[in-house]
């Protein structure tokens, strides 16, 4: 392979990546535009709120409680090396609320919701249900995409808030029952240490991650190739893209909130 052909290949890959970013950005803008203009589909929105919000609660709760508990143990063990075991409540609180709560909930939503949206829409595409929607004068962006993205925007911050609380509760349970912390003191330290900005950053991250998770599911579902392989590939790509974008966005948002 000559240096020139290597350069050409690199250029093609870069252009393809940029084109992809452009398509996803346009798709996201289009999803928001379709949220604002009638007709509205309240039944689809209600179903999406149920699917994305309510039915994700068990997996979010389990993830958060185990993470909070493990975090307490790790901080206690690490803190003991320089006689700082007492910081467990504060670090669990800030770790869960600022970072682990939104990121883990975001990743769980990517695993659960993005995959299910992508597989559902991709299956609709390969079985011509999307074409059928169009012939029945129904815009798929309005009927399928907008309700799912809106539902994720509304519910994932709530899930993150609940995940934060359950994670802190997990840390509290381990600290009080296994590490000998005083219950009242643990709670007071937690509440005193957290600032409004910590909570705001957590919920804002949740909103971004929700939009990313739902949009990636919808985008890859709508772009699906033919057959079972097309559906599988769309589902895999959607989860990969959502997970990477969530982590990258988390880094950017953390930087933004850190500078405030």
């Amino acid at each position: 392979m000559t240096p020139l052909s290597l350069l050409a290949r690199l250029g093609r890959s870069t252009l393809a990546a940029l084109a992809m970013i452009g398509r996803v950005a346009l798709f996201t803008v289009s999803a928001f535009a379709h949220m604002l203009r009638p007709p509205y589909y309240p039944r689809e929105l209600a179903l999406s709120l149920l699917q994305i919000g309510w039915l994700s609660l068990p997996v979010v709760a389990l993830t958060a409680v185990f993470t909070g508990g493990a975090l307490a143990l790790q901080i206690y063990a690490g803190g003991a090396r320089f006689n700082a075991e007492a910081v467990v409540p504060q670090i669990v609180a800030i770790g869960m609320v600022r970072e682990l709560g939104p990121v883990l909930v975001g990743l769980m939503i990517a695993a659960r919701v993005t995959s299910s949206i992508a597989a559902e829409i991709a299956t609709m595409k390969v079985t011509e249900q999307i074409d059928a929607l169009v012939t029945l004068s129904t815009n798929p962006m309005q009927y399928l995409v907008a309700p799912r993205v809106l539902a994720a925007l509304l519910t994932v911050p709530v899930l993150v808030g609940i995940g934060d609380i359950i994670g802190i509760a997990g840390g509290y349970t381990v600290s009080v029952h296994n590490l000998g912390f005083n219950s009242a003191a643990y709670l007071k330290n937690t509440v005193d240490f957290l600032e409004p900005l910590d909570l705001i950053s957590s919920l804002v991250k949740g909103a971004f991650f929700g939009v990313i998770a739902a949009t990636m599911g919808c985008y890859y579902g709508m772009q699906s190739g033919r057959g079972a392989q097309g559906v599988g590939s769309a589902t895999k790509s959607s989860v990969e893209a959502a997970a990477v974008l969530i982590l990258a966005t988390n880094f950017i948002l953390t930087g933004v909130f850190f500078s405030l």
């Binding site: 589909y41 609709m124 079985t127 011509e128 249900q129 074409d131 012939t135 004068s137 129904t138």
Partner: protein, 260 residues
Amino acid sequence: MTAMTNGNAPHPMIKMDQVHKAFGDNRVLRGMDLTIPRGSSMVIIGGSGTGKSVALKSVLGLITPDSGEIYVDGKPAGSGDRDAFLARFGMLFQGGALFDSLPVWQNVAFRLMRGALKRPAQEAREIAIEKLRRVGLKPDVADRLPAELSGGMQKRVGLARAIAAEPEIIFFDEPTTGLDPIMSGVINDLIREIVVEMGATAMTITHDMSSVRAIADNVAMLHDGVIQWTGPVAEMDQSGDPYLDQFINGRAEGPIEAVR
């Protein structure tokens, strides 16, 4: 594009004029010309992958041709209000394309429950049940999910959905694929009866010759991206066209290359 003028004669309901469509290097339509008179039933035949579905979806605007003109009732297809344009069409998809998450009656009444043709739910349900009856299904099917129905029943539900809003033009995409010969005969008879009774213009694509003889007023054979032969169904057997003869008699030898 300008609207066609044709003296005092009525416009053909559908006219395709030198329509080209390629997917990458694969030139599917290479200058397709087709005229479907108002109130007639045109059946397009041709081997797999010859572009029959592409032609049909091009008329509906689901696929955008690379060049050429398509007119519906004398006006360029897709011009004017998109919803009003699509409201003139009903379509039976090859696999039914029923919406899995909706019960049968909501599938049939889909167009009647939203958009410009919206009716109260009870009225939409009554129309759906009447249409189900018209295609030979009992009212107790109305509340079942599509997955609970056999392939033949799903085709009938798809047919009921296609005629629910009493469209002027009905498209049938491989209406008998996957059905046993008796059920194929039933579906063919139903299509013929309904098209005649509604006075609709029908465009069917199929490779099932029993469908052709049961449904068609006129036949067009698509081969190599162009209409190889077109004429009344009664003249099909005496066409003298070697391509058509080979196809309708199912011979491996002839001008159409058969891969063994």
